[in-house]
């Protein structure tokens, strides 16, 4: 039994390292923060972490297959722009005014109130998943390398986002914004459950930020079942040895499409949250690019090999949190924000170097090039 635990730790050393690194950094951060260890700081950090954590999960799935998805930031941006029309809380949603093309798109049948918001969320997530599904189809049926396929589709998704929001704007239902970006207590009082959050049993949980709850729920409800499905197993097998996976009779094409669809779904979650958090839609191209690159960095820090086959989305969440916490330090210590990319780069280099240590054990150097 102890043996089993030792094996599991050794096999997930990347994940363990990321968790320990995050804990150390975060405790240090809170200790140094004037209002450290308070719900308010936690809530603020949770909001800032969430979207990148989702994108890191999204990036993990193709990376496990030894592919890269360069469209995750674009999908996030596009879904955010859709959300700024669909989640206004008003019946009918906001009509799309696109004067330059003279197009008028109305969503007249869209219901208002809670049912409208729930439907809007579902549609946004479906759009994210559909974008990922298209990526998967291009990769599988177009026989195009993931990196180039998603570079192209990503540009298309950004194009759609610009089409929807030539300038930042739109609106998100105020209650929705309040309920999802604060603590559980605020959530309960907004949606009127647990006696508006005043129930005695609920008090010990009321301080927990909603984004952190979502960060536990989404992996638990989506990632864990996927990893234990045959398709999830196939994704790992493809990244490990695609030939052997094929010869073992695994559904290679379906697994690839599923992997990209899941990536689109996670990226959609990120975009949805970002729109809710900022109460607007913004087709911000530099931001989309930065999120994509940071998602790759998070995956690597979280212990997933870019060669595929090993790692997990859970590790990537911690990778994203490590990356974000580093930026938090710039706020409490008097460091020029211009130094931030430098520090992030050094941390990333260190993380990647640890991953490359295994190469030193290879006895046949020809294998390094296969």
């Amino acid at each position: 039994m102890l043996d089993d635990i030792a094996i599991r730790i050794r096999q997930n050393i990347g994940l363990v390292t990321a968790i320990l690194l995050f804990c150390a950094l975060y405790i240090f951060y809170n200790a140094a923060h004037p209002r450290g260890f308070s719900s308010a700081v936690l809530v603020q950090n949770g909001d800032e972490i969430f979207a990148l954590a989702m994108l890191a999960m999204a990036q993990t799935v193709p990376v496990l297959m030894s592919g890269l998805d360069l469209s995750v930031g674009a999908v996030m941006t596009m879904v955010g722009c859709f959300a700024s029309y669909l989640l206004t809380g008003a019946a009918g949603g906001a009509p799309l005014h696109l004067d330059m093309f003279g197009v008028h798109l109305g969503l007249g049948t869209f219901p208002g109130g809670v049912s409208g918001i729930l439907l809007g969320i579902a549609v946004c997530l479906a759009i994210g998943a559909a974008a990922g599904f298209i990526n998967g189809c291009v990769v599988v049926y177009g026989r195009i390398q993931p990196i180039i396929a998603t570079l192209a589709t990503g540009a298309v998704y950004i194009g759609i986002a610009l089409f929807l929001r030539p300038t930042p704007g739109g609106k998100i239902d105020v209650d929705l914004n309040w309920a999802l970006t604060n603590s559980l207590g605020d959530f309960a009082s907004t949606v009127h459950i647990f006696d508006d959050g005043a129930a005695a049993w609920f008090a010990p949980f009321a301080w927990i930020p909603v984004p952190f709850v979502l960060l536990v729920l989404i992996p638990l409800l989506v990632w864990v079942p996927f990893r234990r499905s045959v398709l999830g197993r196939a994704v790992y097998a493809i990244g490990s040895a695609e030939g052997a996976a094929y010869m073992s009779g695994l559904p290679i094409e379906r697994a690839k499409i599923a992997a990209f669809t899941l990536a689109g779904f996670f990226a959609g979650c990120g975009g949805l949250f970002l729109a809710i958090q900022t109460s607007s839609g913004n087709a911000d191209i530099p931001q989309a690019g930065a999120y994509t690159l940071n998602s790759i960095a998070s995956v690597v820090i979280g212990g997933t090999s870019l060669l595929g086959g090993t790692g997990s989305a859970i590790g990537s969440i911690f990778g994203a949190m490590v990356l974000r916490v580093i930026s938090f330090f710039f706020r409490i210590f008097d460091i020029a924000p211009l130094l931030q990319p430098l520090f992030e780069g050094v941390i990333l280099l260190a993380a990647v170097s640890i991953g490359a240590l295994g190469m030193l054990r290879v006895k046949n150097t020809l294998e390094l090039f296969r």
Binding site: R233, A241, G308, G309
Partner: protein, 513 residues
């Protein structure tokens, strides 16, 4: 236990199976049958068609013609999974495991136990434990990643994976080659149980003592043809060797000059690496062509890679022209005058999309440069000389090297190294897959290079070629040099017998048979 098929008729029958790869005959008109409850050995030299035979049976490749019947009804398998579904399971030489997945994941990869649609990790682990204990290897922890297991344990996992598919016909292709002797005993016991339960077993092995210990029947293949099938004890080892060799028309080889004791250019002493090279000592003189023989995978390729600086952790002494060297990379090996024509022409020998000229010059760019810049004039002259010397047939040197035929591609690889003016030339099966005409040109060239003072170490899977080209042949078995053959001793019978590591008396019997 009673045999499942009471009529005792063949379980698997092949009739008139033929297969060609790019015009090269691999199998021709093969009729073959095996029965339930019998272990059937398949024997033959390298390239006799054994691998193609089992690939066809296991659904990896499709035959060009012929029919296959399983349990009386006609079948044709489009994929390995189709063959598995019919109860035909093969344990391949090249392992089919996914290194990053755990042992339990690998064993149940094709059809994992499920609960509520998701993989049931506990049941999967139990299944792995059961299967491993069936083989008697409970010590493998199903949680371990395959990557972290030694080769011998990986092979155990591979066997457990095959067993988990509940085979009716189990094919083992050199499946015990990497096992430790303790595990071999356990696998034998498992095979005996399967046999008693009525499973048909096809067993491919190069180890004669294994075949003698296990097999109920044996079939000998040669040059893609089924030669003979016989029951255990009907043929002596000497007979079997004779059947494997047959009589083939010899190719034309350039005459060998009389040898005079030349100073060794290359000398190895007690070279060891991992478990694949075991105290190799050998010296090659200037002007000498030394053959490396033996069955596939006995360490010959590792020896060439070790000399070329590719392997880490090699121990022992290596001297080139009386100076001790320790090349740590191909670049270092090149600088002391060693050249290697590698195993895989398409990935290790050439950069296929680059031009013929670029490929030719790539190893000698240092010599063709002035400062940091390549001297294009000198480069062009050198390339023209190389093309003329090897008579490479091409339209333009600026064409991609991938447009050339296999034989001409191999000439480019060789020419590339000749441009570095090497003292020691290592050849890893350079004539594989090229036409007879080009082969003969290569033989002539090898002798010419030797006459000019190069020392050549030549690994070939073709015994005929070793006999025709080499001054001396060393035979490797299990990482060791087991025999050195020279002069009149350099016969096919001796090579085959030494390759199988059977004693010389048996070999002598075969020679007179």
């Amino acid at each position: 236990m009673p045999v499942a098929d009471p009529t005792q008729s063949a379980f698997l029958e092949l009739a008139g199976i033929s297969k060609r790869y790019a015009g090269v005959r691999a199998l021709e008109g093969v009729d073959f049958a095996c029965e339930r409850g019998k272990i059937h050995a398949v024997l033959g030299e390298n390239g006799a068609g054994k691998s193609t035979l089992i690939k066809i049976i296991a659904g990896v490749v499709q035959p060009d013609s012929g029919r296959m019947r399983l349990a009386g009804s006609e079948v044709s398998f489009a994929t390995p999974s189709a063959a598995n579904a019919a109860g035909v399971v093969c344990i391949f030489q090249e392992l089919s495991l996914m290194p990053d997945l755990s042992v339990a994941d690998n064993i149940s990869i094709a059809s994992p136990p499920r609960r509520f649609g998701l993989i049931d990790a506990k049941a999967q682990r139990r299944r792995a434990e059961e299967l491993l204990s069936e083989i008697g290897c409970e010590d493998v922890n199903p949680l371990r990643r395959v990557r972290d297991l030694p080769l011998s344990r990986r092979q155990v996992v591979e066997i457990a994976k095959a067993l988990g598919k509940r085979p009716q016909l189990l094919i083992l292709d050199e499946a015990t080659s990497a096992l430790t002797s303790a595990d071999v005993e356990k696998v034998y016991a498992m095979l005996a149980r399967l046999k008693a339960a009525g499973v048909a077993i096809l067993y491919i092995s190069h180890r004669m003592h294994e075949v003698e210990a296990l097999a109920d029947r044996a079939s000998v293949f040669r040059n893609g043809r089924h030669i003979e099938t016989f029951d255990k004890g009907r043929r002596s080892t000497a007979d079997i060797i004779q059947l494997m060799i047959g009589r083939d028309i010899a190719a034309q080889y350039p005459p060998k000059p009389a040898r005079n004791a030349a100073k060794p250019v290359l000398a190895l002493e007690n070279l060891c690496w991992e478990r694949q090279l075991d105290r190799i000592s050998l010296s090659i003189g200037a002007g000498e062509i030394v053959g490396l023989g033996g069955l596939d995978g006995q360490g010959q390729k590792s020896l060439l890679l070790a000399l070329f600086g590719v392997l880490r952790g090699v121990t022992g002494r290596l001297t080139v022209a009386d100076r001790e060297v320790r090349p740590g990379s191909p670049a270092a090996a090149k600088s002391v005058g060693i050249a290697l024509v590698p195993e895989d022409r398409k990935t290790e020998g050439l950069m296929l999309p680059m031009s013929i000229a670029d490929n030719l010059a790539i190893a000698s760019l240092d010599a063709l440069s002035t400062g940091p810049f390549i001297d294009t004039g000198r480069e062009r002259t050198a390339i023209q000389r190389a093309i003329a010397r090897l008579q490479i047939k091409l339209d333009a040197a600026s064409d991609a090297v991938s447009t050339l035929s296999g034989g001409n591609q191999q000439k480019v690889v060789l020419a590339k190294w000749l441009m570095t003016d090497p003292r020691i030339i290592l050849l890893n099966d350079p004539t594989r897959g090229i036409d007879v005409g080009t082969k003969q040109e290569l033989y002539r060239l090898m002798r010419e290079l030797a006459d000019q003072g190069a020392a050549i170490l030549f690994y070939s899977t073709d015994y005929d070629e070793l006999i025709g080209c080499c001054d001396r042949v060393v035979i490797m078995y299990d990482g060791r040099i087991v025999r050195e053959l020279e002069g009149d001793d350099l016969t096919e019978t001796n090579i085959v017998a030494s390759s199988l590591n059977v004693d010389t008396d048996t070999a002598a019997g075969a020679a007179h048979a």
